[in-house]
């Protein structure tokens, strides 16, 4: 039998101050990066504008394109032959036809490089759409968190739900911080990734809580902290294995999935690591802190 983790007895909860410090540092780095940069790097679907992907049969210098489209930002894409560029124009005016940008780019290129390029794809989003979308994304995430909070609160106790959701919220913030730090673009697929992570990273937490519930039934006299620690240790091999396997799959997506899905994959790669960490380092300690805080009061009530 191949085994990676057997008979582990780590005092996870004893290290809770260290974990909190790590979390605060992680959140702080993200926050500092965001404050420094002022804003996330939003994708087209959130900020509006036009991106045209153009392929040239021969080698073309980005400068040559910049000459004819001075207002555009131009990004070269790796390709096996010729040259390929993503040409981005800022957002069109309010209420303006979304396709104006595409026409501007093709007209300018047609003049400078007649017949030498093909438009591989383009996307235009009017300025109006972005704001609605950002609100929608935030609302969907909040509702998902509330839904999970209610579900876990019903299945366990409310503090378990609150701790799990707090941990997941922490994961979302840390992941967003990484997006700012590494200058990855936040687009619709990233929101999809974040919502998936909300569902996924709460899994690890539920597995631990489930074991706590089971252990509480059989070990009524034991110290709660010991039960929590044992529950984490008992499920640790499973936690590491499954996170590792899911991590493998999203890593494949990150490496081989191509340009379009890259931001999504980055969110998943970061989120799965943070999500695994937080179920041990954030969710469980929160439950313990709450329970400890309540204990003296409960005893006081009894004595009276």
């Amino acid at each position: 039998m191949v085994e990676l983790f057997r008979g582990i007895k780590v005092d996870w909860l004893g290290k809770r101050k260290l974990f909190f410090a790590i979390s605060i540092v992680l959140l702080g780095i993200g926050m500092a990066s965001l404050l420094y940069k002022g804003e996330f790097r939003y994708g087209l679907d959130f900020k509006g504008g036009t991106v045209v992907t153009v392929k040239f049969a021969e080698n073309v210098d980005a400068g040559a394109i910049r000459n004819v489209l001075p207002e555009a930002s131009i990004q070269a894409i790796q390709t096996s032959e010729g040259s390929k560029f993503q040409i981005e124009l800022g957002k069109a005016a309010e209420n303006e036809d979304a396709s104006v940008g595409r026409q501007t780019v093709t007209a300018a290129l047609e003049k400078a490089f007649p017949g030498k390029f093909t438009v591989e794809g383009s996307e235009s989003v009017s300025a109006k759409v972005g704001g609605d979308l950002r609100r929608g994304a935030v609302m969907a995430t909040l509702w998902a968190l509330i839904g999970i909070l209610i579900y876990i609160a019903l299945r366990f106790e409310w503090i378990y739900g609150a701790a799990a959701v707090f941990a997941v919220f922490h994961d979302t913030l840390v992941t967003l911080g990484f997006f700012s730090l590494f200058n990855y673009e936040i687009n619709l697929t990233v929101i999809a990734a974040l919502l998936t992570l909300v569902g996924y990273s709460v899994n690890d937490t539920i597995v631990v809580f489930d074991r706590v519930r089971e252990n509480l039934k059989t070990r009524r006299r034991d110290d709660f902290e010991a039960i929590l620690n044992d529950s984490i240790n008992q499920t640790l091999s499973r936690t590491i294995l499954t996170s590792g396997l899911t991590f493998l799959t999203v890593l494949a997506l990150f490496i081989f999935g191509g340009e379009i899905i890259n931001n999504f994959a980055f969110a998943m790669v970061v989120g799965i690591i943070v999500g695994t960490y937080s179920s041990v380092a954030v969710a469980a300690p929160l439950v313990l802190i709450y329970t400890n805080a309540r204990k003296p009061k409960a005893m006081a009530v009894k004595q009276r």
């Binding site: 209420n95 929608g136 697929t189 998936t196 709460v202 899905i261 998943m268």
Partner: protein, 534 residues
């Protein structure tokens, strides 16, 4: 093998075969797969437009029609009024209503127009001024009708163009008035956009005077500087002989409109140039006959989207058919064909603003498919290699469960007609990862029970019943967020949410039912040797 296990095994085999036949066709083939798994535009290439229907246009048009009708009726009942002007898309003001006929006016609005309109305020300075507003219910109805009608019109036009497998749907919640249009395989949207975006409001209006004017001012001068309220000045659609556009003074009220059309087709004018001939329905023919009969010798402007296409002389009474020529400049054959098409398909009730436009070239889509396939194969390979190494023979169990999970996922997607998008492929890869999660949870529990000294049979039984509760909790929590994702998402993101939801549900089947049955088959065969390779 016990009867119970045999039945379970049969169910699994039946589900597997049914799913494979569902997504790969009968008999299974690559062609069948291509037919049953619908690819999104981001994978197969094509154009997607999101159009916002400017529904206020429909309100504005109704308000204007009402003003004209009211003006005519007041004239008939000799209630004098200084002005009736629209003040908002759904509101107009009647200024300077004859004080003596005040109650007549009120009765008119509260009688004939009470279904749709109400007087919201009145004030008595300088004659009586009434503010009349469209009722909320009417406005709401008009707005939703406008979107429905726009949808039908676009459908008609796209079908007439013969675009393959178009998707035309309403999108967004109430008040969003958006239409999403997809054209697979089309990577130059300009032409189609021109066709579907054309309002194509046809109006036949009598011309005042005998000719056009070269400037707007010149036209107004003919009326002493103030244009009468029942007239308007319209520009010509094309430049006339002089090389610039000209202006016509026409009646505001159209005698016949596009709504009276029965049919329109390409034909030729008397000089053999392309033209569009049209037929009117019975009501339209009646009105057209009255109009042309009473105005022989005058000019009739053919107005399309508020531009005068041509203004032929009425030589005799015409009833149910007519011809639209391109005026001095003439139509080219394509123009005539497109005009006939948009007239046949009906007018758009409101203008549309493109909110989003995405064009995916076929090569870009093919790239995405290739990337998605490579990532899926690598992910699957890595996971299979690991579980086989780590769990030995039981790894086969997990592998079978995982592959069945994918089979059921694709079967269900084909069954509900879901679209596979690039994010959807990411969802499939995640299903691999999350699916194996359930198996690992179970296997680790079995190992734990075995270490505690239980027999293989009882370890398997206990583990499955214990872990089942956990699996329900984790899957439901993940479902909650996937459902909110579906609710929030549009297009490709919805595709991702759908794969995720189906993947989660089918995983409950494969990780619990299939995996447990496989264990039982193995343990049953071994009979007395109470060991398990895990």
């Amino acid at each position: 093998m016990s009867k119970r296990i045999r039945i379970r095994a049969l169910i699994i085999v039946a589900v597997t075969i049914a799913c494979i036949l569902r997504f790969a066709g009968v008999p299974p083939s690559i062609e069948g797969l291509k037919k049953n798994i619908r690819l999104g535009l981001d994978l197969k290439g094509g154009t997607q437009l999101v159009l916002q229907v400017n529904v206020d246009d429909a309100l504005k048009a109704t308000t204007n029609q009402t003003i004209e009708a009211l003006r005519a009726q007041m004239e008939k009942d000799s209630i004098s009024v200084a002005q009736i002007v629209p003040t908002a898309v759904d509101t107009f003001e009647a200024r300077g209503v004859d004080a003596a006929k005040d109650s007549d006016f009120r009765n008119m609005i509260e009688g004939t127009y009470s279904q749709e309109w109400e007087i919201v305020s009145s004030d008595s300075t300088a004659g009586k001024t009434y503010t009349v507003r469209m009722k909320m219910r009417t406005a709401t109805e008009l707005r939703s009708q406008a979107v429905d009608q726009a949808l039908r019109t676009i459908e008609n036009r796209v079908n007439a163009l013969g675009v393959a497998e178009p998707v035309i749907q309403k999108r967004g919640g109430p008040g969003e008035n958006e239409i999403i249009v997809q054209f697979p395989g089309l990577d130059d949207p300009e032409y189609v956009k021109g066709i579907i975006g054309k309002a194509a409001i046809l109006e036949l209006k009598l011309v005042q005077g005998t000719s056009f004017y070269s400037t707007r001012d010149a036209a107004i001068q003919q009326f002493g500087g103030i244009l009468p309220a029942n007239l308007e000045i319209l520009e010509s659609a094309k430049a006339e002989q002089g090389g610039s556009k000209v202006f016509w003074v026409v009646n505001k009220v159209a005698a016949v409109t596009g709504r009276d059309l029965k049919n329109a087709s390409v034909s030729r004018d008397e000089n053999g140039r392309p033209a569009v001939s049209f037929h009117l329905n019975a009501a339209g023919a009646q009105r057209f006959g009255d109009l042309t009969g009473a105005n022989v010798g005058r000019l009739l402007a053919i107005v399309l989207d508020s531009q005068v296409v041509s203004a032929p002389r009425l030589n005799s009474r015409i009833t149910d058919n007519g011809i639209i020529t391109g005026g001095g400049a003439g139509f080219n054959p394509d123009e005539a064909r497109d005009l006939a098409l948009v007239l046949r398909s009906g007018a758009l009730p409101a203008s549309m603003t493109p909110l989003q436009e995405a064009v995916v070239g076929a090569s870009l889509g093919a790239d995405s498919i290739r990337h998605g396939l490579v990532a899926s194969v690598v992910a699957l390979g890595a996971v299979v290699a690991f579980v086989l190494f780590y769990y030995r023979a039981s790894g086969i169990n997990a592998t079978v469960a995982m592959i069945l999970n994918l089979v059921v996922l694709f079967g269900a997607m084909a069954y509900i007609g879901a679209t596979l998008t690039l994010p959807g492929i990411a969802g499939v890869i995640l299903t691999i990862g999350v699916g194996i999660d359930s198996n690992v949870l179970i296997f680790e529990r079995i190992r734990e029970e075995l270490r505690a000294g239980k027999t293989a049979v009882s370890s398997v039984a206990t583990s499955f019943s214990r872990v089942f509760v956990t699996l329900v909790d984790t899957h439901l929590a993940a479902l909650i967020s996937a459902i909110f994702l579906f609710w929030f998402g549009t297009g490709a993101i919805k595709g991702f949410a759908v794969t995720l939801v189906i993947g989660l549900v089918s995983n409950m089947f494969t990780a619990v039912f299939v995996s447990k049955t496989l264990f039982e088959i193995v343990l049953n065969r071994k009979e007395r040797t109470d060991t398990l390779s895990i």
